[in-house]
């Protein structure tokens, strides 16, 4: 019997293969593997590639555009970015390409930090105040001051405070988003409450919340999930009692009466069952209001656009944050800012773009910002001239926007730019007192100790 092995041994070729000069099966497989590897290598390498974009285009990472969506509010925002970049590209040699990063990935995710860690960050990107110091201290923010009009810098006023180091501007805000409390008119009416019962003090806030709560309805919703956003929504309660994380001289002052009473307010709201331990409707404010799962909710001005787009018939109200006894009104104001990567492929052009888009006194620049703050979104404008033009053009005529403009916005403070260790110490104090019911004094003390230890070895721009 002719064995397979015998054929191979005798002829050096597998059975069934005719003798000749053709490639062996092994040779073919080896060759194919080589070709496949060669073909796949560039794809694999580019898969790990940079955020530097194709060709010589500057990349602009953002969470707005370009995206396809049925949501009219999101469509308007996306179109604003597309128009902005089209206008630039039509008049400048250095072209820009928009890169859309979904919100969750952009703000809380690993996308932006990973790109910078791999030294392939985008040329232009959006940044929130909470991230400012980390990127500034990392040396990746370009000084935008030389590209801006002096008049425009003055026009920004206090809005630039948390984006400035030693008088130099490193990020340009496109919006200002103050916090307030939204409420359901229907829930108020069913509880026998009216506009006259809108709380102006913390005690009233808890009382009203208590009257509004039900089995499936939270009286008042504070943010419950640990993160930069929760801290952002908590700061005004601390500020209202005169509390600060850092004093003017840079010393740590977090363990104060004001901090403790702010922590106590949130703890009481949860412990008395007025505020829920998790966000109603998984954090979807509109659904929660429409489903009658919440009566009052602390949130920002951006919700006006959401109501307008998705629940235009829902009857809601908004009021400024109540103050503690002996305290004074304050609210926190967030908002995104443009910045240019100092390690990008053309930092000068990127900086020029940021300044051209938001930092000149040119009429088109101001119109563009009015459009963003009052048409594409519902925000307060970060510049005085934009705010005035927005008012003149009727951008703040809608009752809710007027309320924000006249009552809520004045007295607002920019979101602090605390680095991660400071954020985490405060977050732990908020979470520990609010949800674990721990002693507020101990939490404030622990936060102060952690921040003090950090500040001793901190090297970088001013924390305030």
């Amino acid at each position: 019997m002719l064995q397979h092995d015998n054929v191979v041994a005798r002829t050096g070729r597998p059975p069934g293969r005719a003798p000749g000069r053709g490639a062996s099966r092994r040779g073919f497989l080896a060759g194919a593997a080589g070709v496949a590897t060669a073909a796949a290598s560039p794809a694999l390498l580019t898969g790990c590639g940079s955020g530097g974009g194709s060709g010589g285009k500057l990349t602009f990472w953002n969470q707005y555009a370009p995206q396809r969506t049925e949501d009219p509010a999101v469509q308007r925002q996306s179109q604003w970015f597309i128009d902005l970049v089209d206008q630039w590209n039509a008049t400048h040699d250095r072209q820009i390409e928009l890169v859309f990063i979904p919100n969750a990935t952009y703000t809380d995710g690993a996308k932006l930090p990973s790109a910078f860690a791999a030294e392939s960050g985008p040329d232009i990107f959006l940044i929130s105040p909470g991230d400012f110091l980390r990127y500034y201290n990392g040396g990746v923010l370009t000084d935008l001051t030389p590209y801006m009009d002096r008049e425009a810098i003055a026009d920004y006023g206090d809005s630039l405070e948390t984006r400035t180091v030693d008088g130099r501007v490193y990020a340009l805000p496109m919006e200002v988003e103050p916090l307030a409390i939204y409420y359901s008119v229907s829930a108020f009416e069913r509880a026998g409450l009216s506009e006259g019962d809108i709380p102006t003090t913390w005690d009233q806030l808890l009382d009203v919340g208590d009257r509004l709560r039900g089995n499936t309805r939270a009286g008042l919703a504070f943010d419950t999930e640990p993160g930069y956003y929760q801290n952002f929504t908590w700061y005004p309660w601390m500020w209202q009692g005169g509390g600060e994380v850092f004093a003017e001289d840079g010393s740590v002052t977090v363990n104060s009466r004001a901090t403790r009473q702010a922590l106590q307010l949130w703890q009481d709201a949860v412990q008395f069952g007025i505020a829920p331990r998790t966000m109603p409707a998984a954090g979807d404010l509109l659904n929660a209001f429409q489903g009658d799962n919440v009566a009052m909710w602390q949130s920002g001005i951006w919700e006006v656009a959401s109501f307008r787009a998705h629940a235009p018939d829902f009857e809601y109200g908004v009021f400024k944050l109540p103050v503690p006894e002996g305290g004074s009104y304050a609210t926190a104001m967030g908002g995104w800012a443009f910045c240019a990567n100092a390690q990008g492929k053309d930092p000068e052009s990127a900086a020029e773009f940021c300044a051209w888009a938001l930092g000149t006194m040119d009429e088109r620049c101001i119109d563009r910002m009015v459009d963003w703050c009052t048409v594409a979104k519902t925000d307060m404008a970060p510049r005085e001239s934009v705010l005035e033009l927005g008012e003149a053009s009727g951008g703040y005529d809608f009752w809710a926007m007027k309320k924000f403009r006249d009552e809520i916005f004045p007295g607002g403070r920019g979101e602090p730019r605390y680095p991660p260790v400071v954020y985490k110490a405060l977050s732990d104090a908020i979470q520990g007192s609010m949800l674990a019911g721990r002693d507020v004094a101990g939490q404030a003390e622990r936060a102060e100790a952690a921040i003090q230890a950090y500040v001793k070895s901190y090297e970088g721009a001013s924390l305030i």
């Binding site: 990392g138 939270a218 999930e225 993160g227």
Partner: protein, 320 residues
């Protein structure tokens, strides 16, 4: 023999020397098989080297640097490990991970084994049950997280609604530190039980039917049959499930935590893997995160070694 070869080797005739030289260079059959084996293994080995071994080595090395997250690396030696030893949040996360592993692994083991025993029964429609029970495993953990977030909602979640309909008080399953970790464990068991159920089913089907037949003839009851036949003969499968679920519990669950609780409430679900992720990608502390990651790997290896030692690697008592 040498006399026969030697004259041939000296042959310098133009037509005869070249084929012989080629013949001498040809590899033996054994060597050719080695080469073939190497070529077949190469894609996997190269993949493992590039995507596992190299990143692992780099990660261990990164643990000795302070990394700014913007391209700056500063040698700190054991500085990150010292910091880790003095970081109460890290040790809190280790404690939570310990509790998570100690509860999750046995519960998952028992539920999966129980389901494996149930679906081994020959009943009509069993394929449907098997598929239904396996289904959660193929769903993305992010989707699972969102799904359960709604189901465990304080006010309108089905769990609390069901409790209220029975006259009981609803709880904040994800917002109360007393319950949050156990809620995450329950969701994880729901996700993973189908996979380990199938593994157990395969193990159960490997046990010869004759043994059960003999036990039945000897009058053994269900418990006695399980204890004396099923359990001992499932040892290799049990070992596999125990090892894999322990490793998965120590190093996994990040995506579920991320969606369900984001590490809250009050760090109550901040597993070590979540804390490491937060330090790396939230705070840009890549060096510190790498040091903690390396430490976690050491813990995992130690656990695996203990499991190997205690179960004798899943071998039967009479195996050498």
């Amino acid at each position: 023999m040498s006399e026969t070869i030697a004259p041939e080797a000296r042959t310098d005739a133009p037509g005869g020397a070249e084929p012989r030289r080629r013949e001498r260079r040809r590899l033996s059959r054994k060597h050719r098989e080695w080469v073939a084996a190497g070529l077949f293994l190469a894609p996997d080995v190269i993949g493992l080297l590039i995507f596992v071994a190299v990143p692992m080595v780099l990660s261990i090395a990164l643990g000795f640097f302070q990394v700014s997250g913007f391209g700056s690396y500063t040698w700190v030696g054991l500085g990150n490990y010292e910091r880790m030893m003095n970081d109460p949040l890290f040790w809190d996360s280790m404690r939570i991970t310990g509790l998570y592993v100690v509860v999750l692994v046995p519960v998952l083991f028992c539920v999966s084994l129980g389901l494996g025993l149930l679906i081994k029964q020959k009943l009509p429609g069993m394929a449907v049950y098997r598929t239904a029970l396996f289904l959660p495993y193929v769903i993305s953990l992010v989707v699972v997280g969102l799904l359960w977030k709604f189901m465990l909602d304080d006010q309108v979640g089905v769990v609390n609604r069901a409790l209220r309909s029975l006259g009981m008080e609803g709880e904040s399953w994800l917002g109360d530190p007393k319950f949050a970790l156990f809620s995450v464990i329950a969701v994880m068991v729901w996700v993973m039980m189908g996979y380990y159920m199938i593994i157990f089913l395969a193990g159960l089907q490997d046990i010869p039917a004759e043994y059960y037949e003999a036990a039945r003839i000897d009058g053994a009851g269900p418990w006695s049959t399980f204890r004396n036949i099923t359990w001992p003969l499932l040892r290799p499968t049990s070992f596999f499930v125990l090892l894999m679920s322990t490793v998965a519990a120590i190093t996994g669950g990040l995506d579920l935590i991320f969606v369900l609780t984001n590490g809250g409430p009050a760090n109550g679900t901040s597993l070590a893997i979540f804390y490491i992720y937060q330090q790396a990608f939230g705070f840009g502390e890549y060096g510190y995160a790498s040091a903690m990651g390396s430490f976690l790997v050491l813990i995992m290896v130690a656990f695996s070694a203990v499991i190997f030692a205690v179960t004798r690697g899943g071998r039967f008592d009479n195996d050498s």
